[in-house]
């Protein structure tokens, strides 16, 4: 009986420690970064520059033409990126692009379904930028923006 209580306490301690670690680790694992090819001549970009580029209000950042990539519409990362960095909800984004397409002002960015595909696309040539979870990037890309 005495051992049984100790094990139970021990189990609770492990659970609490684990929970504590997971809570603390959460922001790191879901932190979004905007990355580019290492040879792109950009070092840092602002949230406003990202917003304007991903909403296709411009095709340039600091006078350089940059191509962008998006996650497909089922991706939670896409939802998080647009809500936290661009400042629009899924519905607002849908309505925005419907209006823009209907006016003949362009099409939404090309889409990929996985982080690996995004990394591969960004790595392929300079002046390409994409967004990823920080945990999913590798040494082959340069971070231009990190969400605090």
């Amino acid at each position: 009986m005495h051992h049984c209580i100790s094990y139970r306490r021990l189990f609770l301690i492990f659970v609490l420690i684990g929970f504590g670690f997971s809570v603390k680790a959460e922001p790191v694992t879901t932190k979004i970064v905007v990355v580019t090819h290492p040879q792109t001549k950009l070092e840092q970009i602002s949230q406003e520059q990202i917003r304007k580029r991903w909403l296709s209000m411009t095709t340039r950042i600091d006078r350089q033409r940059v191509d962008i990539i998006d996650f497909d519409e089922n991706s939670p990362l896409r939802t998080q990126f647009y809500s936290q960095i661009i400042g629009v909800s899924d519905n607002q984004l849908k309505a925005y692009w419907a209006k823009k397409v209907f006016r003949g002002e362009g099409l939404p960015p090309e889409m990929k379904s996985s982080s690996a595909e995004i990394l591969q696309w960004v790595n392929k040539q300079p002046n390409r930028i994409g967004y990823l979870y920080k945990k999913d990037i590798n040494n082959g890309v340069k971070i231009l923006f990190e969400m605090n």
């Binding site: 340039r60 519905n91 309505a95 692009w97 419907a98 209907f102 006016r103 099409l107 090309e110």
Partner: protein, 382 residues
């Protein structure tokens, strides 16, 4: 407005075929959707030809075809008490050389003014129920359709970015407009339509340039158009001149501006017309049309809008006489309530005053539900 009747079964096949083809490339999402509205109105004239119920459904589709080739297709179904209609509003294929130069072939909205390029169909895109009356394209409404809002041909467009602004241009070249002056028994007014036949005496050239400063809440634009208008009716049906004979050389130019400050926004356009008539009533005539629209956003879903619009013309201008246009001005008050990103309800009061003649004021009340639906075929295809 083109009124080519289209078989709904053929359209359904085309739509489904288009969707399945474009969905085979998984890295792009074909953009297709619906814009629509259902409107009821009543006016003080109780005219027999006034629409009391209108519904429009506009399907659009756009995607990358291959490499730098893209397309845009817009198809409209319209139902009023008097008639129903289905026709292609726009279809063009575009090749992008660079941001600064894109070339397209097909049927377009004329690059004149702000409203015609920015809103056109899709009433949820704009704040009022009706367009400014001189930019409307249904001649049977209580308004005068006087502006050539479509053309068939080619377009070059692009954007030049400087350190602190964007310059956008559109250059259009294509067939001039057509009007059938045949006597008709239905009472419908003649409409100005996109010319469909290539004729060296019937050309349309247009140019639009606009300036969009990066950090300023306004834009400015100017536009110019040379439009040669020809007869599309036949003498056997009592048209005023023979088929494809020139009716009018139309020179049109204008200015536009938009501005946003806090809860207020403003749109204004001014058109100047110069017509040199070529048919039996030779002579040169001037006209002008303008509107100014002010909006105030009360809270997130509710907005109030006021618009003043006016058309001035010289007596004897063949072009306006054929179209049945009269000098007039409108005071329009609208309340727009956005239910969400895809639905809005609008209530509008319109005071129409004719500057000459015995008609006096006409008061119209309109109620409209406008909506949009983005990628509705996804649910069917997936």
């Amino acid at each position: 407005m083109l009124k080519r009747k289209t078989n709904p079964a053929i359209m359904a096949t085309l739509i489904c075929g288009l969707t399945s083809v474009t969905f085979s490339d998984a890295t792009y999402a074909v953009q297709h959707g619906l814009f629509g509205n259902v409107s009821v109105d009543d006016n003080s004239l109780d005219r027999a030809d006034s629409d009391t119920f209108v519904s429009e459904l506009i399907f659009y589709s756009a995607d990358t075809l291959y490499g730098n080739f893209t397309y845009l297709w817009e198809f409209e179904f319209e139902k009023t008490i008097e008639h129903q209609d289905a026709h292609t509003e726009r279809f063009h294929i575009k090749y992008s050389f660079a941001d600064e130069l894109k070339l397209s072939l097909g049927q377009f909205h004329s690059p004149i003014g702000y409203w015609n390029r920015t809103f056109h169909h899709g009433s949820i895109l704009f704040d009022t129920v009706e367009r400014p009356f001189f930019l409307d394209f249904d001649a049977n409404k209580n308004a005068s359709t006087v502006t050539p809002v479509h053309y068939i041909g080619m377009m070059a467009d692009g954007i030049f970015e400087t350190d602190d602004a964007q310059w956008k241009y559109q250059f259009g070249a294509g067939n001039g407009s057509e009007i059938s002056t045949n006597q008709n028994t239905s009472g419908d007014r003649p409409e100005i339509e996109s010319g469909t036949s290539i004729n060296s005496d019937n050309i349309n050239l247009s140019y639009h340039l606009s300036y969009h400063p990066d950090e300023q809440p306004y834009h400015l634009g100017f536009f110019v158009m040379r439009n040669e208008v020809q007869e599309s009716g036949s003498l056997t049906d009592n048209s005023i001149t023979q088929y494809q004979a020139k009716l009018t050389d139309q020179n049109l130019y204008g200015l536009e501006a938009s501005y946003k400050m806090g809860n207020f926004d403003l749109i204004a356009e001014h058109f100047w017309f110069r017509h040199t008539n070529q048919a039996d009533r030779a002579g040169a005539y001037n006209a002008s049309a303008f509107y100014i629209q002010l909006g105030y956003q009360f809270s997130a879903p509710l907005k109030a809008i006021y618009r003043y619009s006016q058309l001035d013309l010289e007596a004897g201008d063949l072009y306006f006489d054929i179209l049945g246009a009269e000098e007039q001005y409108h005071n329009v008050f609208t309340l727009k309530y956005e239910l969400n990103e895809f639905n809005a309800i609008k209530l509008e009061a319109d005071q129409q005053s004719f500057l000459y003649g015995a008609q006096g004021n006409v008061y119209t009340i309109r109620l409209q539900w406008s909506f949009m639906w983005n990628n509705p075929l996804d649910a069917i295809v997936n």
